[in-house]
């Protein structure tokens, strides 16, 4: 093989691998990403039931109910709209009424949000950024309410 042919083989293989990777990335981006919505978004955008998404806001004070088998029900609010959420399992340590929360799951036909993951903020100084933005959107956020808003969600 000449130097030129070798280079062609090399470039051809590289482009092939990159094309495969690009196809994988595009396919995965279509199927596996999850959009974040505030409770108001959920209502206004008329998301079809069964769409996987994340919602974030505050746990509405007085809405928390515990049932059998570690069932937890609460409402997520951005001050304008409330979305009822159902979750089976152990909620994070810092999950409390009036505090920020992010839930991932699906909207059911009856409007209930069935969460399979619940994330709360990581310490008392911070709030999940998505929650801050959702509250800002609905006008329920005062600057200085929490110093520094970037922190942990998990």
């Amino acid at each position: 093989m000449t130097r030129k042919q070798r280079r062609l083989v090399l470039i051809g293989t590289s482009l092939g691998v990159l094309a495969i990777a690009a196809a994988l990335v595009l396919g995965a981006l279509r199927d596996s990403i999850v959009f974040f919505n505030s409770p108001t978004d959920v209502v206004e955008k008329h998301q079809p039931p069964g769409t996987r998404m994340r919602i974030g806001g505050l746990v509405k004070p007085g809405s928390l109910q515990r049932g059998d088998n570690l069932l937890v029900q609460f409402a997520v609010t951005d001050g304008k709209t409330d979305i009822p959420v159902r979750y089976q399992g152990i909620v994070p340590d810092l999950f409390r009424e009036g505090q920020g929360v992010v839930a991932e799951g699906k909207i059911e036909p009856n409007g209930m949000f069935a969460a399979d993951t619940v994330l709360a903020k990581h310490d008392e100084r911070y709030m999940p950024r998505e929650v801050v933005d959702a509250l800002k959107q609905s006008g329920r956020w005062q600057e200085g309410e929490a110093k520094g808003s970037g922190s942990a969600v998990r």
Partner: protein, 659 residues
């Protein structure tokens, strides 16, 4: 006094850094030996001054000097001494000081151990190293000064984030930074080569040990971070594809590619331009990682605070160094002479394949990490890209890479015999296929991926060892001969085989824990028993137990296997009054390579308490594999060929097989 001393020392380090940024380059131009030698002293003194600065900050923390803002915000007088010490870097300002401490350490190491480098190359490397250092000294002094004081000294500090009050903080960040920052040396060498317009096999021989050192630390740092997250977050996950984790994985992937391409360059004088580019990219990814983690653009446990000026400053550093180095690369790289020729099927070809797949895999991680940020900046839509994305993109690429891995070391340089190598790998392939069949049969055909993964891991493991087996003649020759051959084998050959089997070990652990792990999330009352995977845990009750700066609720569980008591597991929840936070301390019970993992949830009104119990088969293999990889790297590093200055090994030992 102490904070001012530390502040002053850091300013002096900056002044020395500025001198070192310019003087050696002028010296190299004008052949002024005194100016060139100056860089040695300034590099050593820079390290000394940063060390003084760091020590001053340590003293502020250890003596709980709450007049210093960062100490006030991140420490508490009742914290155990070890956490007072580690909280030095448990915050943004201190961790940046640790960053520059390690950066100046590497600069000093080049100055101290680079005695046999050509004078001009060394001068350039030290100058470039100093450019990076100056940028970060300025960053600290202008935006993140850890020595700022409060007008009035508070009586008590605000305490360190309880999640960070763990031995993991003593281990994970320093190791990770040694890796991140270690790649700066490869970067400086690459830029120096571009400025000088000269690069040869000797260059690769100088760069490789530094890259390997950084890679070893980064491997260990990532693994320790993963183990820390595993035991501290309470649900037993070991990798989350969190952007912050990806930030450390990206330089690791690029650095691994760099290690391999540097081999080609050193041995065959080929792939020069590519190696230079990889060296630039690897450190650029380290910088991007630092930016992502430190600027607050990401929401994660690692974002200590969110200050826009810091983000902008790091972004400016990023643009300056990445943009500048790539521009220099574009203008100078075409002038570099092309090296040795090789056929597509050859050791070089295999290493190119390795590089292709590693960099492409790295690219998919970059896309998955940055796409949400870009999308939010452009459209305002917020999305999260999680494990499914990376499983679908990174996964297949890595499988292809693993499949090809055993072929590399068996192929000959220049022109290899693919069929011959395939024949030599028959036994590995056979073991892999048998493993697939056995696992598939035992599992009853529940999944296809897991048996395939186990088979692939075993194939890689055996394939990595075949090279050693053949070259030492084990099972074929008398033991004495084998021993002599093993001693005569270059350490880098051992290193390769061991590091490659380390990857396979980690992969085995990931597959087993992810596929056959079991879990139970239940509420238990005292004296109730939970059973999982052949283990029975009896809940004995909750007790309060005070700690130094927290109070803990401890659950006691007696663990039985087939009726015999094998131990007690005590998961707890700690509440830290200073911050009103609590942390979850999972109890771990290691059985062989598997673990039982128990963490406490909320206590209910009826006296029951929620618990999560996980059985994680073979989970320890994940981190054992990483340590094995690291050992392989360390062995390779000790190869005399790489000890800078060691002459090329003369003739091979007569016992080594003729190749």
């Amino acid at each position: 006094m102490m904070p001012e001393l530390g502040h002053y020392a850091l300013v002096l380090a900056l002044a020395l850094g500025l001198v070192q940024s310019v003087a050696p380059i002028i010296g190299a131009r004008t052949h002024d030996a005194a100016l060139i030698r100056l860089a040695n002293s300034t590099a050593l003194m820079q390290f000394a001054f940063v060390a003084v600065s760091f020590a001053a900050l340590v003293i502020c923390y250890v003596t709980s000097d709450f007049s210093v803002i960062t100490v006030f915000e991140n420490s508490h007088s009742t914290m155990p001494l070890i956490y007072k010490f580690t909280s030095v870097w448990g915050n943004h300002e201190g961790s940046m000081l640790l960053w520059v401490l390690i950066l100046s350490l590497f600069g000093a190491l080049v100055a101290g151990f680079g005695g046999n480098l050509p004078a001009a190359l060394k001068a350039h490397v030290l100058a470039i190293q100093s450019w990076i250092a100056c940028a970060f000294y300025l960053f600290i002094l202008l935006t993140s000064n850890p020595f700022l004081r409060l007008p009035q000294t508070p009586f008590e500090g605000r305490d360190l984030n309880p999640i960070l009050q763990d031995i993991g903080l003593a281990i994970h960040p320093p190791l990770l930074y040694l890796g991140y920052v270690g790649f700066s040396i490869a970067f400086s060498f690459a830029i120096a080569a571009l400025i000088e317009g000269r690069i040869d096999a000797a260059w690769a021989r100088w760069v490789r040990p530094w890259t390997l050192t950084a890679w070893i630390f980064l491997t260990l740092g990532i693994a320790m971070g993963s183990y820390w997250a595993y035991y501290t977050l309470g649900w037993g996950g070991f990798w989350f594809w969190d952007p912050v984790e990806n930030a450390s994985l990206m330089p690791w992937l690029a650095g691994t590619a760099l290690l391999h391409s540097a081999v080609v360059m050193e041995k065959r004088n080929a792939l020069k331009v590519w190696t230079i580019l990889l060296a630039i990219l690897t450190f650029s990814l380290s910088l991007i990682g630092t930016f992502l983690v430190r600027s607050g653009v990401l929401t994660s446990v690692h974002a200590f605070a969110n200050d826009p000026t810091r983000g902008v400053f790091i972004l400016a550093i990023l643009v300056l160094f990445i943009g500048g180095s790539l521009a220099l690369f574009a203008s100078r790289a075409p002038a570099l002479k092309q090296g040795g020729l090789f056929a597509p099927v050859s050791r070089e070809g295999a290493l190119v394949f390795n590089n292709l797949f590693l960099t492409t895999a790295c690219l998919t991680v970059i896309v998955g990490t940055l796409y949400p940020l870009a999308l939010e900046a452009i459209t305002g839509e917020k999305i999260s890209v999680g494990a499914p994305f990376f499983n679908l993109t990174f996964g297949p690429l890595f499988v292809a890479l693993m499949f090809a891995m055993p072929f590399g070391p068996l192929l000959a340089w220049k022109r290899g015999d693919l069929l011959g190598v395939a024949q030599r790998l028959m036994s590995a392939l056979a073991i892999g296929i048998v493993a697939v069949a056995v696992v598939f049969a035992v599992e009853g055909g529940q999944s296809v991926l897991a048996p395939f993964g186990v088979g692939l891991a075993l194939y890689v493991m055996v394939g990595a060892l075949i090279d050693l087996l053949e070259r030492t003649g084990l099972f074929r020759l008398p033991l004495a001969t084998v021993r002599a051959r093993a001693a005569g084998l270059p350490r880098s050959a051992w290193g390769t085989a061991i590091a490659h089997s380390g990857i396979a070990i980690s992969m085995l652990g990931i597959i087993c824990a992810a596929t056959w792990g079991t879990e139970r999330i239940v509420a238990v009352k005292p004296k109730q028993t939970i059973s999982l995977s052949g283990y029975d845990l009896t809940f004995e009750g909750l007790v309060q137990r005070p700690g130094p700066n927290y109070s803990a609720v401890v659950g006691t569980f007696t663990m039985r296997s087939n009726g015999a008591v094998i131990g007690v597991m005590e998961p707890s929840k700690r509440s830290f009054s200073a911050r009103g936070m609590s942390t979850n301390e999972a109890a771990l019970m290691t059985r062989g390579a598997s673990q039982l993992y128990l963490s406490l949830g909320d206590a209910n009104n009826d006296g029951s308490v929620a618990v999560r119990l996980y059985y994680k088969p073979m989970v320890m293999l994940i981190w054992v594999g990483a340590v094995v990889m690291m050992l392989g790297g360390a062995l390779s590093l000790s190869d005399r060929r790489l000890r800078v200055g060691a002459p090329k090994p003369a003739a091979r030992s007569t016992l080594a097989p003729a190749e």
